[in-house]
Amino acid sequence: MPGSRFQKLRSLPVTNRVVDWGMGPHAVSKQTRQAGARIAGLEVTESVCPYCAVGCSQAVYTRGGELVDIEGNPRSPVNQGTLCPKGSASRQLVQQPGRLTKVKYRRPGGKDWEELDLETAMDMIADRVISARENGWQSVDEHGQPVDRTLGFAHLGGATLDNEENYLIRKSFTAMGAVQIENQARI
């Protein structure tokens, strides 16, 4: 590759450090001495950036189940360790202020959120889907052609979800008879 300037200089001499004894004017503090401890003992998981479709690989560092750091994965031939500002900020996506952790429910005409147990919410949603499926069911269209479908409910979403998730959405909702299934690809 012409222009070795693109090759990052990753290896550094890391042995034989001798610390100034501190009698001089520039003493080395406790924090400084502990620099570097931040990486030690971290687990690394390889992931993919959730923003655009370039598909940059990410190295996700955790310690004891806590997210510590997300950086570009240098092994990837796509991004070679680099990330854009959004990818670089993606730890804050996970740890964002206001991150939802509980189901919020707004009843008809309600002026505020109420909290809802996850299982209860799932039961209620299943009831709504079944009822909408039945309400919107069409066996034949206006010309008498069989259509075997429901227009009672719709789905929107998918381009930020996983392929496996989209597959289950497609399979399940189509089996229920829904046809109004769409995602960002067309918006």
Binding site: S4, R5, F6, K8, L9, R10, S11, L12, P13, V14, T15, N16, R17, V18, V19, D20, W21, G22, M23, G24, P25, H26, A27, V28, S29, K30, Q31, T32, R33, A35, G36, A37, R38, I39, A40, V44, A59, D69, I70, E71, G72, P74, N79, G81, T82, L83, C84, P85, G87, S88, A89, R91, Q92
Partner: protein
């Protein structure tokens, strides 16, 4: 070069070479820096001036900052339109906006920035030049220069600012007493006082990452490798070849700022983080010449240094224990990093 506080066999001077000709102004470096160093966002302010740069300058919580320098000129059509408006009776800054509407327009209004039709219309525009100048939207990722003659170190009375084994200049927050002497002593306006605790704060050239054999967060993230990290000597070499190549390609105005100068002309004795620029330094907010205000006066620096020694002596005993831990820890970390790279 001020004294190196941490010695290590084989340690070399490390630095940044920031090549502005490949910077795309994405600000990945700013965010990657904040991410790694856990620096908070320090204010969401729309700064206007036709620029996408809303973080403004380096600061206590912004250790990398991408400057946007726009040198675009009015297009031929814009100029003709302005002339036409004038011919139709528009005044210099017409249509005049009533004061009430200006007030309604709210914060951020700077009346002196209302486009001036007269100057727009009369401006001499070389069309060929105007088209060529469309590429003169220049970005530059600014950072602490890790000067050879570091004004901040010279000014620091507590020894909080030290030179590491990589010959970078770092600020030790657990030593800093917040006196702020370093702030005016930096010819580049890099050092800033933290809003939280009043202590000074600046780029460490990711000293903690270097300790683990990792490159600094900003250089690693940079999508176009505008920020390059490496041993100082290699970087200077690389940068000089780069300038030569750009000259070959016809970009005569490319030059290095902070590296490759004769010692007597070196900016702050030479910059550990230096730049390839294509415009005069002032356009990037950089001084054409810079040196430590204290360099010429050894006495105050020495006094300050001696004062700091009192504080430092207390920690001597701890260092013996530290050394043993450090070497063990390093071996483990290095093995881990190597495994990761394979």
């Amino acid at each position: 070069m001020s004294e190196i506080s941490i010695q290590r066999e084989d340690a070399q001077r490390m630095g940044f070479f920031t090549d502005t000709t490949v910077c795309i102004g994405c600000k990945a470096c700013e965010v990657a820096c904040k991410q790694w160093n856990d620096l908070p966002a320090d204010g969401a302010v729309f700064r206007g001036k036709g620029s996408y740069d809303h973080t403004g300058q380096l600061g206590a919580d912004t250790w990398r900052h991408v400057r946007f320098i726009e040198l675009l000129e009015p297009s031929e059509i814009a100029r003709e339109e302005a002339a036409r408006a004038l011919a139709n009776g528009a005044g210099g800054q017409l249509p005049q906006i009533p004061a009430s509407e200006l007030a309604e327009a709210g914060a951020g209004v700077r009346s002196e920035e209302i486009p001036d039709l007269v100057s727009m219309a009369s401006q001499e525009v070389d069309v060929a030049r105007a088209v060529a100048d469309m590429d003169r939207w220049v970005f530059m990722s600014d950072v602490c220069k890790h000067c050879t003659n570091a004004g901040c170190m010279d000014a620091c009375p507590t020894g909080a600012l030290i030179r590491t084994e990589f010959e970078t200049v770092i600020l030790q927050p657990d030593v800093c007493n917040g006196c702020g002497y370093c702030i005016p002593s930096c010819p580049f306006g890099v050092v800033d006082r933290s809003h939280d605790d009043g202590r000074a704060s600046k780029c460490t050239l990711c000293y903690d990452r270097l300790e683990d054999g990792m490159e600094p967060a900003c250089a690693k993230a940079c999508p176009t490798d505008s920020i390059q990290f490496g041993t100082y000597e290699e970087l200077v070499n690389l940068a000089e070849r780069r300038v030569a190549k750009l000259h070959e390609k016809g970009l005569d105005r490319a030059y290095l700022y902070g590296a490759g100068d004769a010692p007597e002309n070196a900016i702050a004795g030479g910059l550990g983080a230096f730049f390839l620029l294509t415009e005069p330094p002032e356009r990037y907010g950089l001084p054409a010449d810079a040196d430590s205000p204290i360099q010429q006066n050894v006495v105050p620096a020495t006094l300050a240094a001696m004062a700091a020694a009192f504080g430092a002596a207390a920690s001597v005993a701890a260092l013996f224990r530290f050394r043993a831990r450090f070497l063990t820890g390093m071996a483990v970390a290095a093995a881990g990093v190597e495994a990761w790279r394979s």
